[in-house]
């Protein structure tokens, strides 16, 4: 414990939810600071409850702590009350394990999961005693790295981050740490260390790249400052997903966190190719973990955590090729241990139904379906391979199986959306309600609840909609108003969100370096914890845009031309721009693209040998590709 310990103890007596800051959980790894030469602060730019639910953090801290030459400690975004106390008492942001200020670490790593956590990165750096701007950091300061899904367009964060890891962090993190250890042991200068990092495969060091802009604000050129640096940054992949590192234990929080259970990542990637889904594009190709590996991981984790529940995680768990076998095997092994398995709700098919009834282990919580759009035409535009018949059949199964609560997820503001598509949402909801009343009264569960949620579409980089304009806020408001009208249906609840946050998300997701200026300005104006409704200060954000003389509509509401140089074009995420444009054109014609399991669509991943089993004809053939 450090000199700040007394002050920290005093602050903890005053804050709400002190356990956010105290650590000491089962399996929390506290390594000796002196014995491990490299010190990594793993920062999650949101509160403890959210960060501790994140699987990536458990994987990466596990890998780092497994090396005898490195240790990882955790750090989360403090809540407002704690931030104020820290300021008042001059206590810098500290790690959970040894309570050391961030600036005492050699590496400070952030995981970027969603754009609305960016302001928290700035807050954490500043509170941790590290200059926010990377070009203001000196020889004494840590190297600040970042990875995660949002690093696929690193530009908005590039003024603040020294090095980005693009793609699978578990593949590159130790290489990065080695270089930073060299900085320490060989006395490399910061500059030299960054240079070495820039030569690592899958690492982007923004200091060595220059962006120039046209008069209309679009990107004119983006190049390395010297030919020694790669012009394109190719992301890293996990080739052998079945054998890649997965922790056998992870910290078990004392207090409630968002996902307080074991998460098994059963596969990575998705074959469906929904055109709005960035994860589906970025995490290609599909790689499954074998049943044996998963059962072993489940048993290890049940033994080491004591959790009562296992959930299966992936982008589309229903597509896992031996899902019924996996669930049956897990249930068989976990029965005596009284561990429940939460199922991907989308595959309660007849085969499973029997074994579920047999074991009675499933909680009849609400079932979730994501048709995303209200009409077949619009579902074809977004390549969401769901038909109304599919959906209704599954809903019927669910109601007959004793469920009475169904959630339906949609998006508003999708490209080409018209009023007919919005009305289609209400039609679907009505049909779902009707399905419930078709089940004889004595057979169905009481208390029908159909929840329709609509979120505002955010066009994302590396999707066929990366060129598309987002609807403006007034248009979204009108559409939501219309939905509220047409969804006044008995038994149906409608949830929606004000579009402000989605608008800002759209600015960042396709932002360039100048969005970093806006971020800095907004942070200076007091914006942080933007993902929390009660903290989100939209007006301050708009003022920040005005202060920087940057028009947010340029990022959110502008349709891009085919030949425009996009700020993220220098990142090679596997899928090619040509493929994305092809998909965009098909989408304009409401033409669907087949599931990869039915044949390769040439997305670009096929360039990598041994990566995509479907492209190489080794994929498991699967009869059912129509499920949601």
């Amino acid at each position: 414990m450090t000199d700040y310990n007394d002050r920290i103890e005093e602050m903890l007596e005053k804050v709400q939810k002190a356990p956010r800051y105290t650590g000491g959980e089962m399996n929390a790894q506290v390594k000796s600071w002196e014995e491990a030469p490299l010190h990594f602060a793993f920062c999650f730019p949101d509160t403890y409850e959210i960060g501790m639910s994140h699987l990536g953090m458990k994987i990466l801290t596990g890998i780092i702590n497994d090396q005898d030459w490195s240790l990882a400690e955790r750090c989360f975004m403090p809540w407002i009350d704690m931030m104020e106390l820290m300021k008042e008492n001059q206590v810098p942001l500290f790690s959970l394990e040894s309570r050391r200020p961030l600036k005492e670490f050699d590496v400070v790593g952030f995981t970027l999961m969603y754009e609305m956590s960016y302001s928290n990165v700035l807050a954490m750096l500043e509170m941790g005693g590290i200059p926010i701007m990377r070009d203001e950091r000196g020889e004494e300061d840590p190297i600040v790295v970042a990875g995660g899904g949002c690093a696929s367009n690193p530009e908005p964060m590039s003024p603040f981050i020294d090095a980005f890891m693009i793609g699978a962090g578990e593949e590159v993190i130790l290489e990065v740490n080695r270089v930073i250890l060299d900085r320490k042991t060989q006395g490399l200068s910061r500059e030299e260390c960054l240079k070495r990092l820039a030569h690592l495969h899958g690492v982007y060091v923004p200091a060595f790249y220059r962006a120039e802009y046209n008069e209309d604000g679009t990107l004119k050129s983006f190049e390395p400052v010297s030919p020694e640096f790669p012009a394109r940054i190719e992301k890293r992949y996990v080739y052998d997903f079945d054998h890649t590192y997965f922790p056998t234990k992870f910290p078990v929080p004392y207090t409630d966190v968002v996902f307080d259970r074991i998460t098994l990542e059963i596969m990575r990637g998705c074959t469906r190719g929904c055109r709005f889904c960035q994860a589906g594009m970025l995490y290609r190709p599909v790689r499954e973990r074998s049943l044996e590996t998963l059962v072993k991981q489940a048993e290890d984790l049940v033994a080491s955590t004591g959790y009562e529940e296992i959930s299966l995680s992936s982008l589309s768990s229903g597509d896992y090729s031996c899902l019924p076998e996996l669930i049956r095997e897990l249930m068989r092994r976990m029965k005596d241990k009284r561990v429940s398995i939460s199922l991907p709700s989308l595959r309660i098919d007849s085969v499973l139904k029997e074994s579920l009834e047999e074991t009675q282990q499933v909680k009849k919580s609400s079932l979730t379906f994501a048709p995303e759009a209200g009409t077949q035409r619009l579902r074809d535009v977004i390549n969401k391979g769901v038909t109304e018949e599919d959906l209704i059949e599954k809903v019927r199964d669910a109601f007959e199986g004793g469920w009475s609560s169904v959630k339906l997820y949609f998006m508003d503001g999708l490209p080409t959306e018209t009023e007919a598509d919005l009305d289609g949402i209400a039609d679907l909801a009505r049909k779902v309600v009707a399905e419930y009343f078709h089940v004889p009264k004595e057979k169905r569960a009481k208390g029908l609840r159909v929840t329709v949620s609509a979120s505002t579409f955010v066009p994302k980089p590396f999707t066929p909609f990366q060129w598309a304009a987002q609807d403006t806020i007034p248009v979204i408001n009108q559409k939501q108003e219309h939905l509220r009208e047409v969804l006044k249906i008995k038994g149906v609840n409608f949830n929606w969100h004000a579009p402000n946050l989605s608008f800002l998300e759209a600015c960042f997701s396709r932002g360039d370096r100048r969005m970093g200026e806006v971020l800095k300005r907004a942070y200076e104006r007091g914006c942080k914890l933007d993902g929390w409704n009660d903290q989100f200060k939209f007006d301050e954000w708009m003022q920040a845009f005005a202060d920087c003389e940057i028009d947010p509509a340029f990022y959110a509401n502008r349709e891009r031309k085919k030949d425009e140089l996009l700020p993220w074009d220098f990142i090679d995420c596997g899928i090619t721009k040509e493929f994305l444009w092809r998909e965009k054109e098909k989408s304009d014609r409401a033409e669907v693209t087949r599931d990869c399991r039915q044949g390769c669509n040439g997305c670009g991943i096929q360039r990598y040998k041994g990566l995509c089993s479907y492209a190489e004809g080794k994929g498991k053939q699967h009869a059912d590709t129509g499920s949601i």
């Binding site: 356990p19 105290t22 650590g23 000491g24 089962m26 955590t305 004591g306 009284r338």
Partner: protein
């Protein structure tokens, strides 16, 4: 068969509330692989109970849990497996087997001893000398927080022993379902006698050192010995 075990809740986890401590113990029992008993019903839970809830912010040196086992287990094995399964912050110190007919912990609990550390030495120099005068009063009136609001009550009959030394107050006070004197109530009364204004925050680390019950002759003895 049941096992009663003495465990500690140390300073690092003192802000964890009682419900979360219960869950941490349940998960520890699950990790231990010991043959614990489960309740019947749709949502079976582990049969474990605690002598007393320890407030958020307080440490416990000798808290007690009572676990119903599905099979006979030796105390050595119980301690060994549980201490591997519990975080360093919540280790078990001793255990004993008790008969199924042994009364519930809560029924036996009468009092608790505390070591109360006054963080500010200056304030402790004013509080400790106030012990004598306070104990000489006929009644020691103080406010007790209850569900229906603040209530005035006399804590004098609930204080069984009270001493002060340096920055510490050592107190033994009633802890039953009907009568409880919490460390905060004692501090309030002592502040009043010492002339420290109510609104002045006196930082105090509460360490509950023992849970006590009554033996056949009405003497207070450690609960785990009954």
């Amino acid at each position: 068969m049941r096992i009663q075990a003495v465990f500690e809740k140390n300073e690092r986890v003192r802000h964890i509330g009682h419900l979360d401590i219960q869950r941490a113990v349940q998960r520890g029992l699950r990790r231990s692989g010991l043959p614990v008993g489960y309740s019947n019903g749709f949502n079976p839970h582990i049969l474990v109970s605690f002598a007393s809830a320890l407030s958020t912010g307080a440490c416990g040196q000798r808290e007690i849990m009572d676990v119903t086992m599905a099979e006979e287990v030796s105390t050595e094995e119980f301690l060994l497996k549980m201490n591997q399964a519990m975080p360093p912050e919540m280790q078990l110190l001793e255990a004993r087997q008790v008969d199924d007919r042994h009364p519930a912990l809560t029924a036996l609990l009468k009092a608790a001893s505390y070591d109360l550390l006054i963080r500010d030495p200056e304030l402790s120099r004013r509080l400790v000398p106030a012990i004598g005068p306070m104990m000489e009063q006929q009644t020691i009136m103080t406010l007790r927080k209850s569900k229906s609001g603040l209530k005035e009550c006399d804590i004098k009959p609930m204080i069984y022993a009270l001493q002060g030394k340096d920055q510490h107050l050592y107190a033994t006070m009633a802890l039953t379902e009907r009568e409880t004197c919490k460390p905060g109530m004692l501090l309030d009364a002592l502040k009043k006698t010492a002339g420290i204004p109510e609104e002045e925050n006196v930082r105090m680390l509460v360490v509950r050192t023992r849970l006590l019950g009554e033996d056949g002759e009405g003497r207070l003895v450690p609960l785990e010995k009954l």
